[in-house]
Chain length 241, copies 2
DNA sequence: GCAAAAGTGTTCTCGGTACACCCATGC
DNA sequence: GCATGGGTGTACCGAGAACACTTTTGC
């Protein structure tokens, strides 16, 4: 046991990759660090996990401190534990990603660690401190994957949205272009959208219909063995010898 | 900083779910614990991560201590950190899973922690100690998923195998039945198998052809954007209103 | 009336599914 | 010769892909 005690000298943290979607662009919420290390740098929100706190709980707490909200999509992605990833000692971090509707919530930070929080375009980020770039990349990959197999995209959109908005979201995440008619046909054929019989107002073109995602129906279909699945954009691979 | 030191009191471990395939059955390698807690119980092999050791390295080390082998498929799956999951204190564990060819290696344990190691049928296990059942389930789910989208099944088979063996492997992992002709058509159409022009010997029926997996070709196709994909067994879902 | 985005249908191709019989070997 | 698993082909169907023009609104 005395020997074992040598192992109880590590710390662990959670880091949250919080995705949002705005102006046709996929964003991630970063904080300006108020403490060392990397004081004043933009980084992923995260904090130590308290001794009596489960991992998921810690991730929820960090998310709530950042955004003031609960009950959003949140899922563990991967754990990063390179020996020297943190200058203060051995700290491994469990990365979570979450999806929120940017418009629904004013981002607020009640944490002393963070001076302020701000949305940044995922595609423009590089060289985040610690191994946060690697963490972000891993979460983005996971999102890319997940969006094709689970209807999580709706977590990023307002409750009411147009099909074009939905398509742009998919295009931003998958980093590809989708064909309008086929996309609409596929999405509508799943019967997971409720047509609200409302239209946009005040737009300088033909106003689009508004839809909402039918979560109850999805869950019922899931139980029946339904598989949500969206193919990627362009056709690839021709002529395998 | 003094306050921060309160966080550096945790330990973390890796646990390995080592899958193998034998006699048409998916197996997992368990050790009989030689130490407390849960002494003499069958459990997943795992150990503390050393202070100067990366996570992946630790997972490889544990695997090597168990099986004496290196260079097998090994991937991080999920981290488990419930507050009371370990009786000795706050210990979070990073779960890895790996795939090995049972016949290639004599399982040997050089670890003091493990009295002996043995293969157990995945389907028959329940109530493993700690949260190991949950870990095993998560890894099995991951394997089920992965086997459909990456040609990892071959890691579990001998270098030379028959198509029927391959099919049985998929059936065991996916827990479903597959239709022989369609399975063969699909697999062969991928052009990822090399026909060895050899046949089984000493079997009391028409001997089957032997194949091997063409790893180089797969990697080359991957680079060209090829997607390995296998559908699940039975057709599901009829009549979405 | 013009700019800007919404909305819509058909044809073709490919891959998945369903399904039943003959073949080679050991004993 | 019989038991055992190996091996094969075809017809049908549904989903994805390609593709261009009309509609509705604000200004």
């Amino acid at each position: 046991m005395t020997e074992l005690n040598n192992f109880f000298k590590s710390a662990f943290t959670v880091d949250n990759v919080i995705f949002g979607f705005d102006e046709g662009d996929l964003k991630v919420l970063l904080i300006k660090r108020g403490e060392e290390p990397f004081k004043n740098r933009w980084a992923l929100p995260g904090y130590f996990v308290y001794p009596n706190e489960d991992l998921d709980t810690a991730a929820k707490r960090v998310l709530e401190e950042m955004t003031g909200i609960r009950n959003v999509f949140l899922e563990q992605v991967k754990t990063f534990g390179a020996v020297n990833r943190h200058p203060f000692g051995r700290v491994i971090t469990v990365a979570y990603f979450s999806l929120i509707r940017i418009d629904n919530y004013e981002v607020q930070t009640s944490s002393a660690v963070a001076r302020k929080a701000e949305w940044h375009s995922v595609s423009k980020l590089k060289n985040l401190p610690f191994d946060h770039q690697e963490i972000l990349d891993a979460c983005f990959q996971r999102l890319k994957w997940m969006v094709r197999y689970r209807p999580v995209g709706f977590e990023l959109l307002p409750n009411k949205f147009t099909l074009t908005e939905l398509q742009h979201l998919y295009e931003a995440i998958l980093e590809t272009e989708l064909e309008k008619r086929n996309f609409r046909k596929k999405i509508l054929s799943m019967n997971l959208l409720i047509d609200l019989d409302e239209t946009q107002e005040g737009v300088a073109h033909r106003p689009a219909r508004l839809y909402k995602f039918d979560k109850d129906k999805y869950e019922q279909l899931l139980a029946d063995g339904f598989n949500f699945e969206l193919k990627e954009g362009k056709k690839k691979m021709e002529g395998v010898s």
